[in-house]
């Protein structure tokens, strides 16, 4: 029973990711991306990446709390989709927004702390995505767990990246920050038992 549930969960994640990616294109073609489409694409891809990041972090607590060990099978998939949307987000910024104008980016954007935060989080995500496969996992042995614990700092940096961008009212980033802290505390306390 439970093994078929995980199959459904994985299928659902594929469909959801495909749907939300497709929706961006659909809305673009139908002029539904607000008056400021680049900003809207940036916001959406960023938000999807962050939500999936939080879901990745919730796998271990779900496994322990509900005894649903199979969920770990979906963790890599969720994590890779988070990386997928982070990649769309990154190239929206670089290509759509700044037209790969590296002069402009290097001159006055790169020094902004929200850019530094977002970019460092993305670099770490590349490393984690690249070592998420079984081969790498086997080769790294116990080191793999230490390396992939970096997902917690990544999540915190991403929340800062978000908070530094809003004009005022950090309510939404704060919500994600709280959720991530709770998940970390939950995981640590569950592992101790």
């Amino acid at each position: 029973m439970k093994s078929s549930l995980i199959v459904w969960i994985k299928v659902f994640i594929h469909i959801a990711a495909l749907y939300f990616t497709g929706l961006i294109f659909w809305d673009y073609l139908n002029d539904q991306l607000t008056a400021n489409p680049i900003e809207e694409i940036t916001k959406r891809t960023g938000k999807y990446a962050l939500i999936l990041l939080v879901l990745t972090l919730s796998c271990t607590p779900v496994k322990i709390l509900f005894g649903f060990n199979q969920i770990i099978k979906a963790r890599r998939q969720i994590g890779l989709y988070s990386f997928f949307f982070a990649t769309l987000h990154f190239f929206t910024f670089l290509g759509l927004d700044y037209s790969f104008d590296f002069d402009l980016i290097l001159k006055d954007v790169i020094k902004k702390r929200f850019v530094i935060a977002g970019f460092s989080a993305y670099l770490i995500l590349i490393l984690l995505a690249a070592t998420s496969f079984n081969n790498a996992r086997r080769k790294l042995g116990r080191q793999w767990y230490n390396l992939h614990a970096l997902i917690y700092p990544v999540a915190s940096i991403v929340v800062l990246h978000f908070a530094w961008l809003v004009k005022s009212g950090v309510l939404e980033p704060l919500l994600y920050g709280t959720l991530i802290s709770l998940l970390l505390i939950l995981k640590l306390s569950l592992l101790k038992k």
Binding site: T34, A35, P37, E39, D97, L104, K167, S168
Partner: protein
């Protein structure tokens, strides 16, 4: 910097009638008295007064009326139009007073009848990094200020938005020190570019755009252009604006558009023009440098941001 006449900008389709008319006039000072449906509609726009640059195109009416920052209604720019749709803007009393010889209390509907409305096409640059080109309708603020005769002690002008949490739902939120207050130095307020708008695209303002009357200061970031004004006071000391109270480190009194003075957290060197893909360079004083730079002679604009 070459500036073009308002008649040379590609207008929206609903503007076509007017355009035909203007092309016929051929360029000098345009008067559209007798234009169907707009009895007191008159354009005395002179190209030298700010205006637009050769590659500026009017932002669509749809974009101007669906993408709005108006925190009294919603923090979500796409939601403001819905949150403000039942906002009643007539009758509406505007009061002007403070350090003045006379004071003025006038209904905005009467104001638009008594004072000739003129059109000004201005670039509008938001502090968030996007911009529009908007054909405003209204009158220079100086015309009303001269009417009330400011006293010599009046050094600043303070503007206040309606404060009514029952009508402006987000004023119930305690995240902001309502009401919205803005201010200008008196010479900025008297400058001919400084405009009180009651309409755009030849129509009355919509609630989401600050109906029935709002300020437009085209060389400053958009948040200085306070909406739905109920009171204008001439005062002696520099008023503290809502944004200065919220975050004095990030938002200063002057808030002139300046590509060389970044927002502490993001760059102001470039902007996204609504309706275009990609970025444009942001211009000093939003392109109105020739007209307004003199107001700030000798001032350190990094310090007085």
């Amino acid at each position: 910097m070459t500036k073009v006449k308002s008649s040379e900008i590609t207008p929206e389709s609903l503007y076509l009638n007017r355009r035909k008319f203007m092309v016929g006039v051929g360029g000098i000072i345009l008067s559209t008295a007798g234009f169907p449906g707009c009895d007191n509609y008159k354009t005395t726009y002179e190209p030298s007064k700010g205006g637009v640059l050769p590659d500026d195109k009017l932002t669509s009416y749809k974009d101007i009326t669906t993408y709005n920052n108006f925190y009294e209604f919603s923090l979500d720019k796409e939601d403001v139009i819905f949150a403000a749709k039942d906002f009643k803007t007539s009758p509406w009393k505007l009061e002007i007073g403070g350090l003045t010889e006379k004071s003025l209390s006038i209904d905005v509907d009467d104001l638009t009848k008594i004072y000739d409305q003129e059109e000004r096409i201005y670039r509008f640059r938001c502090v968030e990094g996007w911009s529009m080109v908007i054909p405003w309708l209204g009158l220079p603020l100086a015309r009303l200020l001269k009417e009330v005769e400011p006293l010599p002690e009046a050094k600043y002008v303070q503007f206040m938005t309606l404060h009514s949490p029952s009508r402006m739902p987000n004023q119930k939120s305690r995240s902001f020190p309502w009401p919205y207050i803005e201010g200008l130095r008196i010479d900025e307020a008297m400058h001919d570019l400084t405009f009180l708008s009651t309409g755009l695209y030849g129509k009355k303002l919509m609630p989401q755009n600050g109906a029935p009357i709002r300020l437009v200061v085209p060389w400053k970031y958009g948040f200085k252009s306070i909406k739905s004004i109920v009171r204008i006071l001439l005062v002696e000391h520099m008023p503290s604006s809502l944004w200065m109270k919220v975050n004095p480190r990030e938002y200063g009194f002057y808030s002139n558009v300046n590509p060389t003075v970044d927002h502490p957290r993001w760059s102001q060197a470039s902007e996204r023009r609504i309706g275009e893909f990609g970025r444009r360079e942001t211009l000093p004083f939003n392109g109105y440098e020739e007209d307004v730079a003199d107001l700030y002679k000798g001032m350190d604009l990094k310090k007085y941001f």
